[in-house]
């Protein structure tokens, strides 16, 4: 749905302010006994969290599927070629695990299971590429406007507001509509155009808190240059909330891509769950499984990234425990 990605952003942004403070609070005092850093503390917490372990397992599995989809299906099955005479809307054979007919065939006689496996790559790639682009761009804008303050901050914040005010999916639709061939990088870029604002806001808030710390003053007093202060001292200490927001948003970008495909202006050159869901809706009354399996796969993927982000946030934000 179009709402999700932008919604993820606002919800997370609403919490961001508190997260920043809390992260710093843990950082300030060493734990009794051996002093532990924020990250090792978080790692200790994560290893004992079933949600984290489950989601990590799922994500690793999905990455393997994305890399070598044919590993998981017996026989040589093409996800693109269908046999209408033999397999038109053939019902799933749930006993035949990992075979082409396991989850049935769609309206073009193509194996639904093979298409599920081969659709993973596009979804994961879009999710990761948008997240990377958004984190780099938003992170840089947030870092600069948070650190320099003054008129730089005012200008940058107003620009962020401008991009934030336009509905996120709408912008992607406008951009994509002008392309007739829509590959993974094109779709990713169209989502990143308006998607970077929440990261910029979180980064800015985080940097403003960190730059008042004593070690920044000390570094300045010792004559460190702006670049060194920014990237050696401020960035590593301000990046935690950004990572949390980015992981949670990743799931949202996967949904956004599927939504665009569902509306008919998504990927054109790859197999995509969104396209399959869109095609399946025409057979919803007679053959629900055509829609059900890609929808379930998509939801499971988004759920895995959401749970992962949630677990990381809880680990980095002790107050929410």
């Amino acid at each position: 749905m179009p709402e999700l990605a932008s919604k993820t952003d606002t919800a997370v942004a609403a919490q961001a302010a508190t997260t920043t403070d809390n992260v710093l609070a843990t950082d300030a005092g060493p734990a009794p006994g051996k002093p532990r850093s924020l990250w090792s503390d978080a790692w200790y917490d994560l290893r004992h969290n079933w949600m984290f372990l489950l989601s990590t397992g799922l994500i690793l599995l999905l990455l393997v599927v994305a890399a070598v989809p044919d590993l998981f299906i017996s026989g040589d099955v093409s996800p693109r070629d269908g046999d209408l005479t033999k397999h038109y809307l053939q019902k799933p054979e749930l006993g035949h695990v990992f075979s082409a007919e396991w989850l049935g065939y769609d309206h073009q006689g193509r194996s639904i299971y093979a298409r599920l496996l081969h659709g993973t790559r596009a979804s994961i790639l879009v999710g990761v590429m948008v997240t990377v682009a958004v984190t780099l761009l938003g992170g840089l804008v947030g870092l600069i406007s948070g650190y320099f303050g003054g008129w730089v901050d005012s200008v940058m914040s107003r620009i962020t507001d401008v991009f934030f005010g336009i509905p996120f999916l709408l912008g992607a639709m406008v951009v994509l509509n002008t392309f007739s061939e829509r590959s993974v990088p094109v779709v990713s870029l169209s989502l990143a155009v308006l998607g970077w604002t929440s990261i910029a806001r979180v980064m800015r808030g985080s940097v403003i808190t960190v730059k008042q710390a004593d070690y920044v003053t000390a570094a300045k007093a010792l004559g460190a240059g702006t670049g060194r202060i920014l990237f050696k001292h401020i960035l590593p200490n301000a990046v935690a909330p950004v990572i949390v927001v980015a992981t949670i948003a990743l799931g949202g970008y996967i949904t956004a891509e599927a939504t665009l495909s569902f509306l008919g202006i998504g990927l054109t050159d790859s197999i995509s769950w969104g396209q399959d869901i869109s095609a399946g809706k025409d057979y919803l009354r007679t053959a629900q499984y055509v829609l059900f399996f890609p929808a379930a796969m998509l939801s499971l993927t988004v759920l895995a990234f959401l749970m992962f982000g949630d677990a990381v946030r809880n680990a980095l934000d002790p107050k929410s425990r």
Binding site: I166, V175, T178, A258, T259
Partner: protein
């Protein structure tokens, strides 16, 4: 207070101009506004050139933008691809979408905040864990899947609702589409309220209120909830704008002819007037909602004052 509002309104002007300019450029520079005017085929060069001149598309972009904004100030939003005035489209589309958004926001407030309070007060108990898991699932299932499934079950199989909404779109028919539209936000509102309530439960003013001997109900509603609502109000305020512009999928599934439908048509046909016009109104709604949210802070938390 009055001065604060005036200052905020003035700050809105550059953001408003920037946002309209951005969408104007995106629609205009990226696409070819004449492309959609000759049906499915490409326009022949002579017709295209005449159309360009007629619409003033041969002038530089900044001049086109100024002309467009000048027209908007006088209430002229241009014409859509089918020759209808954009203002006419707006007058039929916005009432429908406003009703849909109202239904969605009501669901968010009533169900979301109630669930949030219930789980926030019972941190770590089975109720809390199960509601939390349900919210995760609701967030991860895309709206278009939820919408299609509800439409199939309630509308087609059990016949409880009409599968597609009539053109009048009364409140009764918008209940299920509203719920679908609200579903993801609903889950976020629940989670935000839960976190906020759980955090504030340990605060001094709650302890004082309990120590005073106030009944539990009053402590929860008047003291705890009121102070925990700030992040929730922030979210819902921003959400109003998103729901109005983001209902494209929901409106498509349930065949509702609102803002999302018009925007979708406008984008597909590369009609600058429709897209920029509707987005301009949406940006205004979004900015005003933000202002109202900031003013609500002072109502919820008396420590916040606007000078």
């Amino acid at each position: 207070m009055g001065r604060y509002v005036v200052r905020r309104l003035l700050q809105m002007i550059p953001v408003f101009i920037g946002a309209t300019l951005l969408i104007f450029l995106m629609v205009h520079v990226m696409g070819d506004p004449v492309a959609g005017l000759c049906g499915e085929r490409r326009c022949d060069p002579a017709t295209a050139a005449r159309l360009r001149q007629e619409f003033g598309l041969d002038q530089p972009v900044w001049q086109q933008y100024l002309t467009y904004m000048g027209n908007i100030v006088t209430g002229d939003f241009g014409t859509a691809f089918n020759g209808q005035e954009v203002t006419e489209l707006m007058s039929t589309a916005f009432p429908v979408t406003i009703r849909l958004t109202l239904v969605a926001i009501c669901f968010e407030i009533v169900i979301g905040i109630t669930l949030g309070v219930l789980t926030g007060l019972r941190r770590g108990r089975p109720v809390d864990t199960s509601v939390l898991l349900v919210t995760l699932v609701v967030i991860s299932v895309p709206t278009f899947v939820t919408g299609l499934l509800l439409q199939l079950l309630l509308g087609v199989k059990w016949g409880l609702i009409r599968p597609s909404v009539s053109s009048a779109a009364p409140f009764g028919e918008l209940l299920v589409p509203g719920l679908v539209l609200a579903s993801v936000s609903l889950a976020y509102v629940t989670r935000l309220t839960r976190t906020s309530i759980a955090e504030n439960r340990r605060s001094d003013y709650v302890r004082t209120a309990v120590a005073k001997g106030l009944p539990r109900r009053r402590v929860v509603v008047r003291h705890l909830l009121r102070n925990s609502l700030i992040p929730v109000v922030t979210f819902i305020g921003a959400d109003i704008g998103f729901l109005m512009g983001g209902a494209i999928v929901t409106e498509r599934i349930f065949n509702i002819h609102g803002v999302g439908y018009q925007l979708f048509q406008g984008i597909l046909r590369q009609n600058t007037q429709t897209v920029v016009g509707f987005v301009t109104v949406l940006v205004l709604v979004f900015l005003l909602c933000n202002l109202v949210v900031d003013l609500l802070y002072a109502v919820l938390d008396p420590r916040i004052r606007y000078a």
